[in-house]
């Protein structure tokens, strides 16, 4: 046991812990006046962590008795998580000022959640996995209810908490089963144990445990049939937090799911592939059909994210290197599209109140043409229409699926994407074809404008930046399959 090298391996996480605790102290002394400062400082802390993530050596390193792993795969996910958290805090600052949610805990809790997610993606043991999940979940429960005087927010938080705790329980139960039947919790040891299993029937307990673990993690990525909480929580939580919910925890849980299924449970590929196949197909189809009738844009985004998770899981069903690479690419694209869309949703205000009804977007192209173009870009991108970014996400996902001979799933998925195109188009229709209502409150604020326009530029010109992203994701995916 030598602590120092281990701590150096985990230097981005350590940095975040130390800075978060300092900021917490600072906030506790100064009080809610310090919210602005704490927000900016936490953005700086995360940028610092991001720099450390980028500059960490590329090869695979484990630390803390193999509890913790750092590789390109984890690093890429960490960058995505940090980017989404930073953008969330930027979006949240003007929003919180207007809605009067001036708690200094807000950025601190996001930092803790980010820390939990970074531990999740770096987990190399069932125990550290669980610790990471709990740290992020507990922070997120509080964030969902941060608007204490709002019934909806409280309901969302409570629902999230109860169901989240249930899923954590299921996860923990599965982990205990796996431990009981294999005698280890470390991913590395589990791989070795399972390799000797081939042809042996005594692994039924492990499979049951695996199913429980998958159910728990499927809840975290809100895949069908564990998706029920998503629309309610999305609707009730404050909008910047919804944006955060839609991206960061899903990135973390998806990465974790991939790592755990590919690495220690790789031997059980045939068993878990069927389950993930079903979850993926069901998510794509439900995401496509259930969103059609939604009136609230946040609920619509919830179903849309369920659908996207279905598409991403196709890459996992493929179970090959290009599938994992496609998942990373899709998550990146998903981050850009979602942050952009939620920034637009944040700009939907009338008489200083949020409006969330989709019909309120009618005729936006007359009152705010730039925002109209941006939303249109995001919607066409989510529908997967080339040449926008969303198309490339889907293209590489289904390319991997074809390589794994998943023809049925590919055709199902693409047809689901046609159905989902309908409700994305409905928003475009409202914006361009319908008569104008009153303008939304102007100006929308420079943070929102910059993020919206920036993200739509990224989505439109994604064809020019796809190559470096593909290279990075290829390296990241390769590290997972190297062993």
């Amino acid at each position: 046991m030598n602590l120092i090298p281990d701590l150096i391996t985990a230097i981005p996480e350590v940095t975040i812990v130390v800075l978060t605790l300092l900021l917490l102290l600072y906030g506790a002394f100064i009080g809610n006046k310090s919210t602005g400062t704490v927000s900016w400082l936490s953005i700086i802390a995360m940028c610092l962590a991001a720099i450390l993530v980028i500059s960490t050596p590329a090869e695979r390193v484990t630390a803390f008795n193999q509890l913790f792993i750092v590789d390109e795969f984890a690093n890429y996910a960490k960058l995505l998580i940090i980017i989404s958290a930073v953008l969330t805090i930027i979006l949240a600052m003007p929003y919180n000022k207007r809605e009067n949610i001036l708690h200094f805990e807000y950025p601190i809790l996001i930092l803790f959640a980010v820390l939990g997610m970074m531990m999740m993606v770096s987990a190399n043991d069932l125990i550290s996995l669980y610790l990471g999940i709990e740290l992020q979940s507990l922070s997120l429960y509080i964030l969902a209810t941060i608007r204490r005087d709002s019934v909806k927010s409280a309901e969302a938080g409570l629902k999230y908490f109860v169901l989240g705790a249930l899923s954590s329980g299921i996860l923990l139960y599965g982990m205990s089963m796996v431990y009981g039947f294999s005698g280890s919790t470390s991913f590395d040891n589990l791989s070795i144990v399972f390799e000797n299993y081939s042809g042996n029937n005594s692994n039924i307990g492990v499979i049951v445990g695996l199913v429980f673990i998958m159910a728990g993690l499927a809840f975290k990525v809100s895949a069908v049939p564990f998706h029920m909480w998503t629309p309610d929580v999305y609707e009730g939580a404050p909008t910047p937090i919804t944006a955060f919910f839609a991206i960061a925890p899903k990135v973390a849980a998806m990465i974790l799911l991939i790592r755990i299924l590919i690495q220690p449970f790789g031997e059980f590929f045939d068993q878990w592939q069927q389950i993930i196949w079903f979850i993926s197909a069901a998510s794509m189809i439900l995401g496509a059909f259930a969103a059609i009738n939604q009136k609230n844009i946040k609920r619509l985004m919830a179903y849309s994210s369920i659908g996207h998770m279905g598409f991403i899981l196709v890459g996992l069903v493929a179970g090959n290197e290009s599938g994992t690479q496609a998942v990373l690419l899709y998550l990146t694209v998903y981050l850009f599209m979602n942050i952009g869309t939620f920034a637009c949703i944040l700009a939907m205000r009338r008489q200083d109140r949020m409006v969330e009804d989709i019909d309120q977007l009618a005729g936006l192209s007359r009152t705010n043409p730039i925002m109209a173009i941006c939303i249109t870009v995001f919607m066409f991108s989510m529908a997967g229409i080339p040449p926008l970014a969303g198309f490339f996400g889907k293209y590489f996902i289904f390319k991997a699926a074809i390589e794994a001979n998943l023809y049925t799933l590919t055709v199902l998925g693409l047809l689901a994407s046609v159905v989902s195109a309908y409700y994305y188009l409905r928003i475009v229709k409202l914006i361009y074809f319908d008569d104008a209502l009153d303008s939304f409150d102007l100006p929308v604020g420079k943070e929102i404008s910059i993020i919206t326009i920036g993200m739509s530029i990224v989505v439109v010109f994604f064809i020019f930046i796809i190559w470096p992203i593909l290279n990075t994701t290829a390296i990241a995916a390769a590290t997972l399959f190297a062993i």
Partner: protein
């Protein structure tokens, strides 16, 4: 001049126009005026540059010319690869020629949101030209699908009463077909390891998967074409789209389906194409006879022309799948000719629609007394559409029918009835609109074509007559490419 990227210039020049339009500031009137002028100048410039392609085109080789290839996604053997050959060059010219005409045709009829309209049209032009010059399957798909976005907006914003329904139907129909094409592209990529079209053309696709790929291709191209029974989006889209939207739909977008069959289905999947030829013949013959009869019963001029387009496209598919020199050249020629004639017919409808705001045939009658110039021009295009010798329509359909007689006499015989029916519905419509008593009061005040409208029609008139009397320059250009395609096709069948 050797390495001048002329194709990229043609493809992306309209986008530069878009940038300029975006930069225009000022009150609504100024913006509209500047948007119109920028659009007409950029699209005309694009057309002039595209003429350069034709002038410098080498008739003696079947290779792709003016090729540009830039690495794009290296690990996936996908590149930015563009070029033209004898098959695609005329489609590029057609797209480049029709866009300025469309802009001119919308000069006065589009008064609201002119800036967005012109932007949509210029983006549409880039996408259309890109579709025909792309020599990478993924790149082709990107342009092919990208067309949907501006067209959806054009139909939905500037269309008629049922524009929302039509726009959705158009979009979802086409998208549903196209995703199957995407699956086929992915399978081809997996099998061959490349998406490069020249490489795929020389790649022998395994016989077992050819039928599946063919069906997937067919799903996309048949919807786009459109073939019976997936043609129902077309009448709706045509009726509701603004005049210029209909012109582009009929003039260029329908040709993408035919181009797809020519470029992909036939040469890449020869064995499956051979197997499925009876299916194509059947559907085409049904399309020709059925939609002609439907056209006969139409009261709406645009709908009538839309159904006639389906029938004319039936000839094209027959010609392509006869896999003969006459059939293929006839098909390409027919697509070009139909691109011009149907565009002109929609413009003719647009002329009276701008004045009376009705497309109902019964709403008109006796126009010849007030509008002699219009009646003469309309007559010419109607006759072109019914394939009168001396017009371009005759050459195309005649060549197709020669090819079809050699391949299958019954198909040719049944298809010929389409020409008779075509004459019936077109002339019947013409008689009711142009001749008869001038009874309606507002028609008594109607004005003949003005200078701008004459400018729109003049190039189309010249082309229709030129192609009808002296088609050789057009046929020469496509000759070698078509021969080469057919040689490879026969080789693949005999292997």
């Amino acid at each position: 001049m050797e390495f001048f990227p002329v194709i990229s210039l043609i493809t992306f020049l309209p986008l530069i126009g878009v940038l300029f339009i975006l930069l225009v500031r000022g009150d609504e009137e100024t913006v509209a005026r500047n948007a119109r002028y920028t659009a007409i100048w950029t699209s005309s410039a694009t057309f002039i540059v595209s003429l350069f392609l034709w002038i410098n085109f080498d008739n003696t080789t079947a290779d792709f010319q003016f090729v540009e290839k830039i690495e794009w996604i290296p690990g996936f053997s996908t590149s930015y690869h563009v070029g033209v050959d004898g098959i695609s060059i005329f489609f590029v010219l057609l797209s480049a020629a029709l866009t300025p005409i469309c802009v001119l045709a919308s000069w006065k009829s589009i008064t609201k949101r002119v800036r967005e309209y012109m932007i949509a049209f210029l983006i549409l032009e880039t996408m259309m030209i890109g579709t025909f010059v792309a020599l990478d399957f993924l790149l082709f798909y990107i342009f092919f699908e990208g067309v949907l976005i501006p067209m959806f907006i054009i139909i939905g914003v500037w269309g008629g009463e049922r524009r929302v329904y039509s726009a959705f139907k158009f979009f979802l129909y086409t998208l549903a077909g196209s995703v199957l094409l995407l699956v086929a592209i992915l399978v081809l990529h997996y099998e061959s390891g490349t998406t490069d079209i020249p490489e795929l053309l020389s790649y022998n696709v395994p016989v077992e998967i050819q039928p599946w790929l063919w069906i997937a291709f067919f799903a996309s191209f048949a919807v786009k074409m459109p073939m019976w029974p997936v043609h129902t989006w077309l009448p709706d889209a045509h009726v509701e789209a603004p005049t210029a939207g209909s012109v582009i739909l009929a003039g260029v977008l329908l040709k993408m389906g035919g181009y797809g069959f020519l470029r992909f289905s036939l040469p890449m999947l020869p064995i499956a194409s051979e197997q499925f030829t009876p299916l194509i013949y059947t559907l085409s013959v049904v399309a020709i006879i059925y939609t002609s009869l439907v056209a006969l019963a139409q009261e709406d001029m645009k709908k009538l022309i839309a159904y006639s387009s389906v029938a004319h496209m039936g000839f094209v598919t027959i010609g392509i799948f006869t896999a003969s020199q006459y059939g293929l050249q006839g098909s390409i020629f027919q697509m070009l000719s139909h691109g011009i004639i149907s565009a002109a017919l929609f413009l003719c409808v647009g002329v009276v629609y701008d004045r009376i705001h009705s497309r109902d045939i019964n709403r008109y009658g006796g126009l010849v007394k007030r509008m002699p110039k219009y009646s003469a021009i309309f007559m010419l295009f109607v006759l072109g559409s019914v394939a009168l010798p001396g017009t371009s329509g005759f050459i195309g359909e005649f060549m197709i029918l020669i090819g079809a007689y050699k391949a299958n006499t019954w198909v040719a015989l049944l298809a010929t009835t389409g020409i008779i029916l075509g004459a019936a519905y077109m002339l019947y419509m013409y008689r009711r609109v142009i001749f008869g008593e001038l009874l309606k009061d507002d028609l008594k005040e109607i004005l003949d074509l003005d200078f701008r409208e004459l400018c729109i029609f003049t190039p189309l008139i010249i082309l229709v007559i030129w192609m009808g009397i002296w088609p050789q320059p057009f046929l020469d250009v496509m000759d070698v490419s078509v021969k080469n395609l057919l040689e490879n096709y026969q080789l693949a069948l005999n292997r």
